[in-house]
Every structure is written in structure tokens, then in C-alpha cells.
Symmetry: C2
Subunit: 230 residues, 2 copies
DNA sequence: GATCGTCGACCGAACGTCCGTTCGGTCAAC
DNA sequence: GTTGACCGAACGGACGTTCGGTCGACGATC
């Protein structure tokens, strides 16, 4: 069961010392687990956590109902695993993309782009992460909260630096600004349609532009000032 | 049952022609209905629609389980009524506050202030409206969608006018801008804490400021331009 | 190299619980 | 005597979970 081998969960690559046979077995075990998780993610994204039954996950994944409990010891642990992996992956992706970027505004651009692109590439997973936060309780909830907290602090620090460097007199609360940005990003799953709407990169640019300069934009203000001066 | 008297649902005030007795009876009936709806709203906001059982609503409202079905003929109708009333009230409130306001930017300010203040005054109801959209299906969902659509179009028209008048060259998509604004507003229920965070009016001002001018703000740009000019 | 015991992957069938809903009725008010 | 508000008790189904078992792969033993 997954909760008896937590040290394996996020280290798919194992030392080469292991036997070939064991490696192959482990591969099929992990493949199967990933397959069930992917199916569960899609179903929970479609119907919500409570309505997505273990029977439906089993049928869709091509496994028996009891067979699922070979991989997770409860439905809640399954949801936890989906959220934990996704949040970890999101945070890791962000840290990776931020590597070597120093300028605060550029950091913000990288952050929004990374988030939007990750979202577009993993819509069901991010929907489950945005929408089913409170479906976990107790220690499982606390554990995901810790990762989310890291993601929040990383983002808030970027926002803070952007403000401190480029708009030190700005009266906007850093926390409010960060949560407003998260609102724009986390609400995407309610309306973004990859078939109709623009590309993830284009969308990210619009969000960056709006967050930094608002819908009125700086150029307009420059024009206004220049017009007033002449 | 509620679905047999739909013409009464949103007209609490009745003509004075009715007898006093009937009026008092109707009052207690409506009071009881409103009480059950309020309890259900709180419970659904706390636990989610699926987890909030009719038994829990009955117990909390001080009525028997079967007694609830004197007011609603199904749990889904109950949720529908909560959402329908809230969306209608939200839309009516917005239209009322917009009355007589012509300037687009001022309209936007009114819209955000109205939304944030309504949210702060009805947090459970707006959480249910934001979070349980997809818990309705079929005709009930379609009916709420129509009201939300009106709210969206009203807001998008304001955003469009703001852009057309004050930033005609702005490349930001009107739909994206409107949904970004909705994201900031609809995400509030995830983090806003009336005890800790600033007042609803102050929060609304920050959101307006961010949406119009971004975190960098126009003054900074003016400063920059002025500094560059001198 | 055949035999045996072990183990991991997996399954059919059930168990107990909780849920939304309904049925048949009571009782006060008119 | 009718009606509207309301209730206790039950119904049927869906759900998460568990139990007891099968089966093939594998290492050890002869």
C-alpha cells in the first residue's frame, strides 16, 4: 500500500543497484498507480470528489473495485496523493523556472507564465487542487497546506519585491495583491477553454500586463502626462 | 411545495388585498422557509453540497427530516433556490447601485464596491454560489446560468466601456479582463477573513486600484515620465 | 529440473452505513 | 370536515471498505 512506502512516492528513479526484475515490476506497479491516479483526477475534476465514486474510478481504470485498495488504503488518501503530487510538481516547476532570474518584475513574469502553462497542461489536476482543497481534513489537509504555504510565500515575496523596487509608495497591501493574483490564476479553471481562448502564453501575458499596469496601462498614462505637458 | 408556487418565491410583498390571517400565515411560512434556507446555506458553505445532509439541515433548523420536504421537493431544488435568490439579489443590488451613474470608471468602482460589500455581508451564500455551481444540472443549472450571464454581460460592458473610453489602444481582451476581475472577486471566499483583513470598502478600493492601474500604479509611471523629462 | 511454499497483484461478493426520499398518519385551525 | 403544517418510521439504493480467496511468478529444496 502506498502509505507504507512513502519514501518511494516521489522518487520514481531508483538506484541502479536494484535487480532488473524488481525494477520492471516496480515500473508496472508505478505505471498502474499513475494510471489510476490520472483516471481519478479526470473523474474528480468532472464530477467532484464526493460524486466520483471508487466504483467509477475502478471501471474507468480497468481494475476491480477491491483492486484499487491495493494502491491506496482509502479514497481520501487517493485525493491526498493527487493534490500532494500536483502541488509539489507545481512548486518544483516554479523554483526551477525561477533559477537564475533576479529582477523582481521578470520573476513575476516567470511565475505567472509558469503557472498558466502548468495549468493549461494539467487542467484536471489543477481543478482538483483548486476546487477540492476542503475535501481533505486533518493531517492530510495540513500537509498540503504546508506546500501551498510555500508556494504562497514564494509568490508573495516576488510581489513584495516588485512593489518595493518599482513602486515603493504604492498603498496596495502585499497580501491582498498576492491573493488577487492567485484569484485571477485559480479562477481560470472555471472559464478557460483551450479550444476557444488564446494560447496559454498569450493569456499569461495579458494577466501579467493587467497585474502590473492594470487595464488602463502605463502607456496611456504616459500619453496623458505627455499631452498635459505639451 | 415551493415548486408549485414559483410566482411567490421572489415577491415577498403581496398586495394589501389579502386577508390579515392569510398574510400572517404566509409570513410564518416564508419565515420558516427563509430560516431553513439560511441554515442550509451555512451548512453547505461549511461542508459542501454533497456532505451537507438533509438530516443535518433538519436538525440544525429545528424541524423533522420529513418536514423539510414540505418546503422543497428535493435537495437539488433547495440548492437551486439558494443560488437563484442570491444571484438575483446580487444582480438587483448591482443594477440599483448603478442607477444614475454614467461615467464608465465610476460604474466600475460601483460594481466592485457593490460586489465586495454584498460578499462581506453574505459570505456563506456567495461561497455556495461560487463553489457549488456545478452541483446543479439540467434546467436548474441553465436557469442560474442565465442570471449569471446577465451579471457577466453587465460587468463586461462596463469593462469594455472603461477600456474604449480611457485606453482605446489597450491590447487586453475584454473577456479576459472581465474574467480576471471575476477571479479576484470570486476567489475572496477562499481567503477573506473579516476579523483580520481590512474592511470590505477598503478591500474594494484596493481591487479597483489594482484592476485599473495595476500594482505599479499610474503615479509611478507619471513620476518616471516626469523624471525622464526633467 | 521437478516440487513446494511464499508472496504480491488482484478479484467477486459481501457488510454496514448513510443518504434522499416517501408513506401513512397526527393535530390544531378554520 | 377539510386543509395545511408537520412528524416517525421506513424504503431502496449507493457508497466506502473489507474478507476470503485465486493465480501466476519466484526462490529454495530435493
Amino acid at each position: 500500500m502506498i502509505n507504507k512506502k512513502p519514501e518511494r512516492m516521489f522518487e520514481p528513479d531508483q538506484p541502479a543497484a536494484a535487480e532488473n526484475r524488481t525494477s520492471e515490476l516496480r515500473e508496472t506497479y508505478d505505471d498502474r498507480l499513475n494510471h489510476i491516479l490520472a483516471v481519478a483526477t479526470t473523474l474528480i475534476a468532472q464530477s467532484g470528489y464526493e460524486r466520483a465514486s471508487m466504483r467509477a474510478v475502478a471501471k474507468e481504470a480497468g481494475i476491480s473495485l477491491a483492486g484499487i485498495y491495493h494502491y491506496f488504503d482509502s479514497k481520501e488518501k487517493m485525493l491526498f496523493l493527487i493534490q500532494f503530487r500536483t502541488f509539489n510538481s507545481l512548486l518544483g516547476n516554479l523554483r526551477e523556472k525561477l533559477h537564475g532570474v533576479e529582477e523582481p518584475v521578470e520573476q513575476l513574469r516567470v511565475m505567472v507564465r509558469a503557472h498558466v502553462c502548468y495549468f493549461a497542461a494539467n487542467m484536471p489536476a489543477l481543478k482538483v487542487c483548486s476546487h477540492e482543497l476542503e475535501s481533505l481534513a486533518g493531517p492530510a489537509y495540513e500537509q498540503t497546506r504546508l506546500i501551498r504555504r510555500q508556494y504562497y510565500e514564494l509568490s508573495r515575496d516576488i510581489v513584495t519585491r516588485v512593489l518595493d523596487v518599482h513602486a515603493p509608495d504604492c498603498a496596495i497591501d502585499r497580501h491582498v495583491a498576492t491573493m488577487a493574483l492567485f484569484g485571477m490564476l485559480n479562477w481560470l479553471y472555471r472559464w478557460y477553454n483551450p479550444a476557444k481562448d488564446r494560447s496559454p502564453a498569450g493569456l499569461a501575458n495579458q494577466i501579467i500586463e493587467m497585474f502590473l499596469n492594470g487595464v488602463l496601462g502605463p502607456k496611456v498614462e504616459e500619453d496623458r502626462v505627455e499631452r498635459a505637458a505639451s
